[in-house]
């Protein structure tokens, strides 16, 4: 931080979520010069960063900077979009997710995802949670799996008496927690969250944030968020993406301009653009 006046949005350092020293030894993902294209146009350019085990890693940045695109390259969801293409390497532990031999369906069993808009299936609450474990052919008692997932998602007490009613009868916040329960029922190692609270009210948002901090004990979480306070509150590491333009301003793509401990990003960033963005002066 320099002497360029008071930031428009003050993030109270005490609000920053820290657990003292952050363990950075174990990596889950190692991105090496990752670029994502939609057809001929580049959406994300040349991202290299490491994502750590049992951390919450936030991807922040202005609209259209490619943070969702980058997130979706971590479990090969971009494969579902015709014309999308990933260059570079995304190592998940020792294996490159974009290796020829890798089956994207297997990838998604290990790396779950929660979306911006709650998208439960138009089935019962129980069936929503059981969907993933059934796909995997899990052998344990399904009732136990469902109960455990709903407990882990802090939803069990609210829905235990109506497990077999349609999921669309729940509130938006409950639906989103159901989607989290659905994702953790398959026991993934990583959960990707694409702006999971942007369609929710502040109370539901608070519940999901508490849940994320709880889940962090067992899962590694990568979250895309529009909300800088949210990134400051929950994440251990933060990557800031910005939109870059080429010289004739014809093409635009996203780049990671800074990636560091969330603390440092919000209080003492290296890049002046980061300082301007997190203080609300650009973006």
């Amino acid at each position: 931080m320099d002497e360029s006046g008071a930031p428009a949005i003050q993030v109270d350092p005490s609000e920053l979520h820290t657990h003292g020293h952050i363990e950075h030894s174990k990596k889950v993902f190692e991105l090496n010069k990752v670029s994502v294209y939609y057809g001929d146009s580049k959406a994300v350019s040349d991202v290299s960063l490491d994502i750590y085990h049992r951390n919450i890693t936030a991807l922040i940045g202005p609209s259209g900077c490619g943070k969702s695109t980058l997130l979706r390259s971590l479990n090969r969801m971009n494969d579902l979009i015709p014309g999308a293409r990933v260059e570079g390497e995304v190592f998940y532990h020792e294996s490159n997710l974009y290796d020829r031999k890798v089956n994207p369906v297997q990838v998604r069993k290990l790396i779950g995802m929660v979306f911006q808009k709650p998208n439960p299936f138009p089935k019962s609450i129980y069936e929503n949670v059981a969907f993933g474990p059934k796909s995997l052919g899990m052998k344990d008692d399904m009732d136990d799996i469902v109960e455990q997932a709903l407990r882990d998602a802090a939803l069990w007490d609210e829905v235990k008496d109506r497990l077999h009613t349609n999921a669309y009868g729940m509130s938006g916040g409950q639906q989103q927690r159901l989607c989290i329960a659905r994702a953790i029922a398959t026991q993934p190692e990583v959960i990707l969250m694409d702006e999971p609270c942007s369609a929710l009210d502040p109370v539901s948002t608070g519940k999901i944030e508490d849940l994320m901090l709880e889940l962090k004990r067992n899962y590694s979480i990568v979250i895309v968020t529009h909300n800088m306070q949210q990134a400051a509150r929950v994440s251990d590491m933060t990557a800031l993406l910005m939109v870059e333009l080429d010289s004739d301003e014809h093409n635009r793509w996203g780049e990671v301009i800074e990636y560091d401990d969330t603390n440092k990003i919000f209080t003492n960033p290296r890049d002046p653009r980061t300082d301007q963005y997190v203080s609300g002066r650009i973006g």
């Binding site: 579902l80 015709p82 998604r108 069993k109 995802m113 998208n119 138009p122 969907f131 796909s135 994702a183």
Partner: protein
């Protein structure tokens, strides 16, 4: 009420326009009436058809008891004193044709809908879908001839052990009708599948579901109402199909179980089509017979549509 000062330029408030319309808006009313007329036309036509069916049908039932018509097993109208008016053979023949055609059209139509909606590359879909729809536009006469001249010899060659005594067979006609309605089934089902929100698919894919599982467990149940609609439409087409069965199924009035596919039959529509020629005298019993059969056809398709609507309401998965 505060009146605005005249020195507010451009505000428009100083010369407030009256809230009541200055002129009655005839234009809007004329447009609305015209649109309502267009929408009402189909209702009027349906009612007109029903009315035109009713009078001769009543005339028919004054001569033939309704129980003899519905449950009689011998159909030979138009033979004077020797006539018998048991409609069952033609009804069974119609159902035979419908069964065979659905056996062909539903699997092929649904699977191609799955392919086009879930599996096919957009470029492939852009080529295949219009071609399927061309198949739906082929005149039924051409399909009837195709059945008689191509499918029938082919069937005899592939399945020689079935015993093909007649050149007419409801199996061949049914297959031809089935092929004819494949585009209808696939097109309507595919539209229903593609209107399933992308979020639902992504949710399932993100749980490590295979394409097959996403198609069967997520897309299919969410699209079920459209798929049932497609099958109902196809069934109605098959029940009402005349030209193909007239050409390829023969004109032998007999009750045939659906597994005797090599037998010739006469369906309800084929009876109407072959009897309703120019030289039939109005008011005769034969003339009235046509309308009685037509009324029965109408009742059958109507009750089937209603049943289907009921089923759809019960089983569909509603998404928001």
């Amino acid at each position: 009420m505060p009146t605005s000062t005249t020195d507010a330029p451009g505000a428009g408030a100083s010369q407030r326009r009256p809230l009541g319309a200055s002129s009655p808006r005839y234009g809007e009313r004329i447009i609305k009436a015209f649109l309502a007329l267009c929408a009402g036309l189909s209702v009027v036509v349906t009612i007109a058809i029903v009315i035109s069916l009713v009078a001769p049908t009543i005339g028919f039932f004054q001569k033939v008891p309704i129980t003899e018509f519905l449950f009689g097993t011998k159909w030979s109208p138009g033979f004077g004193e020797q006539s018998s008016y048991g409609v069952l053979p033609t009804v069974v023949a119609t159902l035979d044709i419908v069964a065979v055609s659905l056996l062909v059209a539903v699997p092929i139509g649904l699977l191609s809908a799955f392919y086009l909606s879930e599996y096919a590359h957009p470029r492939v879909r852009r080529v295949v879908k219009p071609m399927l729809e061309v198949l739906g536009g082929i005149p039924t006469v051409a399909i009837g001839l195709f059945a008689l001249m191509f499918l029938r010899p082919l069937a005899a060659k592939l399945l020689p052990f079935l015993g093909w005594d007649s050149i007419f067979s409801f199996g061949v006609a049914g297959v031809a009708v089935g092929l004819m309605v494949v585009p209808l089934v696939s097109s309507v089902s595919e539209d229903a599948m593609r209107s399933v929100p992308r979020g639902l698919r992504e949710g399932a894919y993100a749980l490590g579901a295979s394409k097959m599982r996403v198609s069967v467990r997520v897309v299919f149940p969410a699209a079920i109402s459209g798929i049932v609609a497609a099958i109902v439409l196809a069934t109605s087409r098959a029940i009402g199909e005349t030209m193909v069965v007239l050409i390829a199924a023969g004109a032998t009035s007999q009750i045939v179980p659906p597994w005797d596919v090599t037998e010739p039959v006469q369906t309800m529509t084929a009876f109407i089509g072959s009897t309703a020629t120019g030289d039939i005298a109005t008011g005769t019993i034969t003339y009235n017979t046509i309308f009685a059969v037509g009324t029965l056809l109408f009742v059958m398709t109507l009750s089937m549509n209603m049943l289907a609507m009921h089923l759809v309401r019960r089983f569909r998965e509603v998404y928001e």
